[in-house]
């Protein structure tokens, strides 16, 4: 069966510091991968999606970037965090060629102080 992991689970970082969040998927090959952000009590905002290694698209311009160094690994990064980067970051995957179902990871709670 497929499993999606995210780490760290929680993170507190000062403004201006770098960021690296990692997501890995097990039990599938060549998945589509997604990064979302969820502000407190709010909906989900799609940040990046990837249909393959080094194939990444950004949904909204922002202080973040994403990379996919391996087939089942997706990384969210920032060089300098802003207070507004605080939130709950979720990674998700869909089967390549799938029919719409999207599966989410456990999330990372980021607090920028």
């Amino acid at each position: 069966s497929q499993t999606i992991h995210q780490w760290p689970a929680t993170l507190v970082q000062p403004v201006g510091s770098p960021l690296s969040l990692e997501c890995t998927v097990e039990g599938t090959s060549n998945p589509n991968l997604y990064w979302y952000r969820q502000a407190a009590g709010r909906g989900l905002q799609l940040l990046f999606y990837s249909i393959g290694i080094d194939q990444i698209s950004s949904e909204v311009p922002q202080n973040l970037s994403a990379s996919r160094p391996q087939d089942r690994q997706f990384i969210l990064s920032s060089k300098k965090l802003l207070l507004s980067d605080s939130g709950f970051y979720l990674c998700a995957w869909t089967p390549q060629g799938g029919t719409g179902e999207q599966y989410f990871g456990p999330g990372t709670r980021l607090t920028v102080t």
Binding site: T94, G100, F104
Partner: protein, 114 residues
Amino acid sequence: QQQVKQSPQSLIVQKGGISIINCAYENTAFDYFPWYQQFPGKGPALLIAIRPDVSEKKEGRFTISFNKSAKQFSLHIMDSQPGDSATYFCAASHRSGGYNKLIFGAGTRLAVHP
């Protein structure tokens, strides 16, 4: 056109009652309509989903009703339990640029009182 409008924003139901959450969309290209359940501090979990070729799908106490002509769909939770207290998101999806893009509603916070 890409929006999915969800209501109500919050809902309080007594144990054993029926919880109903509604969503509406505009884009007729959407071809997959899932519902997600999210508990505090957890990632959303796929609960149930429907495609526009059927008007209803039932899984246990959860039912999706789909009205293609009205471009509306709803989630019904029968015999609601305190353990159902969570935030529910509807979504709509269509394939674009080699991937399935999910558009989420704003969410409904459900509280089931014992």
